[in-house]
Symmetry: D2
Subunit: 281 residues, 4 copies
Amino acid sequence: MAKTSTLDRRAQPRKAASERWNTALTLIESNRILVRGYPLDEMMGRLGFAEAVYLLLMGELPTRAIGRMLNAVLVSSLDHGVTPPSTLATRNVATTGAPLKDCVASGILAFGPHHGGDIESCMLFLDRGLSLVRSGQTLQQAAEQIVDESAAANEVPPGFGHRIHTRDPRAARLFQMSLELELEGEHVRLIRAAERALTRHEQKFGRPMPVNVDGAIAAICADLGFAYELGNALFLISRLPGLIAHAHEERSRQDPMRQIDPKDHHYDGARERRLPDGSRT
Amino acid sequence: MAKTSTLDRRAQPRKAASERWNTALTLIESNRILVRGYPLDEMMGRLGFAEAVYLLLMGELPTRAIGRMLNAVLVSSLDHGVTPPSTLATRNVATTGAPLKDCVASGILAFGPHHGGDIESCMLFLDRGLSLVRSGQTLQQAAEQIVDESAAANEVPPGFGHRIHTRDPRAARLFQMSLELELEGEHVRLIRAAERALTRHEQKFGRPMPVNVDGAIAAICADLGFAYELGNALFLISRLPGLIAHAHEERSRQDPMRQIDPKDHHYDGARERRLPDGSRT
Amino acid sequence: MAKTSTLDRRAQPRKAASERWNTALTLIESNRILVRGYPLDEMMGRLGFAEAVYLLLMGELPTRAIGRMLNAVLVSSLDHGVTPPSTLATRNVATTGAPLKDCVASGILAFGPHHGGDIESCMLFLDRGLSLVRSGQTLQQAAEQIVDESAAANEVPPGFGHRIHTRDPRAARLFQMSLELELEGEHVRLIRAAERALTRHEQKFGRPMPVNVDGAIAAICADLGFAYELGNALFLISRLPGLIAHAHEERSRQDPMRQIDPKDHHYDGARERRLPDGSRT
Amino acid sequence: MAKTSTLDRRAQPRKAASERWNTALTLIESNRILVRGYPLDEMMGRLGFAEAVYLLLMGELPTRAIGRMLNAVLVSSLDHGVTPPSTLATRNVATTGAPLKDCVASGILAFGPHHGGDIESCMLFLDRGLSLVRSGQTLQQAAEQIVDESAAANEVPPGFGHRIHTRDPRAARLFQMSLELELEGEHVRLIRAAERALTRHEQKFGRPMPVNVDGAIAAICADLGFAYELGNALFLISRLPGLIAHAHEERSRQDPMRQIDPKDHHYDGARERRLPDGSRT
């Protein structure tokens, strides 16, 4: 958010009509497109999509390790079946015969504070912990304090717990890659300490509250230096194909104007199979 | 679109309440997520995002060549500066202080028939040409016929012409890659023949009408077997990071509630630079 | 839709940067707001909302009869319970904690070809019938022809049939008011003739196919001279309060992030009651 | 917002599949629609749209005075010309040829914290002042304290100031009607006291900061007992016809895919005119 107070915003005379405003993203001229300075047609074939997204959002090319990490982050939230409210909003729009873009726009609007938006909240939560470290606490002390504060407020901290998973396989894999790629930083270390600290409150919560995929993305993005709202943005990019797939399946396999009961769905897709050896990003 | 006529839709008794409906995309169980049969956590680190998108939408893993092609398609429309109406819609929502997801949902709604939607129209246009080939015409004859039909209707065919570019560098690069990766098929050959046929109408149109990036994506996606509406969907995935970048820049660099005049913008980003040697997807 | 062909759109040089574009809706000056020439603050208290909407959309004040008719049209589609896909899209966004505006924007996107969009389709359907009348057929002949054409295509004509109602009480009331207010025109007469003609196809459709509320609004709006897309627009205005009420109820009465099964809902509101005597618009 | 803490939300077992959920808005049965207990077809012709909206949102019929007040509130924000960001978002989507509903959904997303959302913020601001009155301060003291707090934070209080109007004619008319209809309550009295208190800070703000239309709606809605988020909702209902009118005008009068510069617009509509005598809601 811009820092201008409403005083400035409302009280100042409006800018002169001819005043220019700046953009640093993309230069467009006839037959020439530069994204952050790089010719877009040269990027094609030489940068993967995830690497190009990083360049556009952060302004510089990622290292090879960061590129691999970002690919994994984007793959991690690709889809989560038919029951998330974003998917149901998308399918309810699809059943009316609306264009695909309308279906996915509706699903994107469902990425609210309780769904996807946890990434930004968790980044703030972790930065509060790290400010305690800056003022002298150990990482473990800071983790315990921020977790205890949440528990005292009867709140599960953002980025923890899942209604279906007791151990989120996506979070585990992201942390493993972060370590292997030597990208693990203080946010990842803090969230893992917080996960351990949370076990002391397991009785209160009635079941395990492991780091979920939102929490893992939050910690990794924070270590990579992403701005808060761009953490959520990565989730949007990751999940958009899932919304598209559900809109397309709804229109391809179902009658229009049906009443969609999420409880009644049945999976009839491919059985479990393994990736061929050797593939890697 | 489902094939059910409205007769079926309105006249039939409603299905029994307990009837199940099917989905073949993603299986969700506790601590287990299978996308098209593959464990999602195994996909992370082994499939790039573009490859994972292909798997989700098409049901099978892409070949290495298709994966490279899809990366290039997704990079090709990453951003196009501040003047597209989708970008302006996004920035106008951003200036009100709305959440990032609202800004990008607004931009997605601007991918209408005249903006992004050309991909689906162009796929239909090419398939009409190929149906002429099936009935005995040569590719060249078919290209001339469909182009002449558009010209007779005073219409530029979908996928041709650009307000800024007289030779779209993104289209040229996509065609080059399609050839090098040995993915070029009859849709690409037909659109290139149509481009040549269009030069005969140059006087009518007053300037060159080259294949644009939408047309190139349309031909390549059609050769790869994508359904019509998934052609447009690839454009949505490609441009979403651009919408995010503009929303974020609007909030970071500008005062809220400003009046956004696209004519007045000025590029102050990185000067032209080259990608380091050796990078390739 | 503007009539410009894509030839004009893409081939012409862009307009001079300083060229002005026109708007005839509202004049804004310091401390002065004129809507279609009338001071907005004078309209307040002297025009009802429906009358002001008519003025804004049509450019002139409505007669008293048209004002009453428009109020009835706007009341007719105020809400239709929890099962329409627009309402379910809205509630699925609401359960994520998103702002109210996001919930209703999502619902508005569900007003697709099969839901709300029937008004525009029905206006076109009726105008096709009236063009037959212009070329010499009687109203009855024209009604039979357009109905037979739909039936031959296995299509219920737009504006007919309802999954829940066998006689739509809203349509009946709108027609009654149109007659009483002496606003009934050829579109209403044609749709009623078409309703009678449809009874001959009842066996095919398996049940009665009465005019529904969309059909009644379509005929009445067409008689009042509304443009096609403004017919649908009246439905948007009418239903927006319904979307708002459902979003607000979802947030007030339900836990966030619930899985919304439309089949499981139960009505626990006010029992049937009568309006006090004497009220009338 | 529901009061459930995230602890409850995530830790509790999911509800039994067959559990029913309640709605109190509208009962739908075959050929029978009850809105808050009243037959919808009886409401048509007997309740104006504004009265029906009140019934749906608040659960009971409005008095005649409240009905007149609500009509004026809904008329007050009908349109504000081409320069608000919501209108520009709508027009930028319209220029792409998107359906009308997409254009207005985009505009609705622009009703962010700085645009329309001030109503909810202002209701909260006023309720903070009234809590000071409950604890013993006079209305004047409370008004001065909350205004001073805002000024000390370099913030214009929500509901005050306008970039174009130095005296908002809509606010003045709403307050006049509130007094005449004997609906003025403590929120209106407090906001008027706050307006007077703000004059002491005029030097700081550099110009007058009168109550604007958002502030007037906020105070009146609060006096009528509307929930916070329904205050904003009234603005959505009021402005939707404006968004529709701009989308329709954009498509009727302009070429598609144009670059919309708000500075370049010119009003060519009706000259100032007076309402005929005698009209009143």
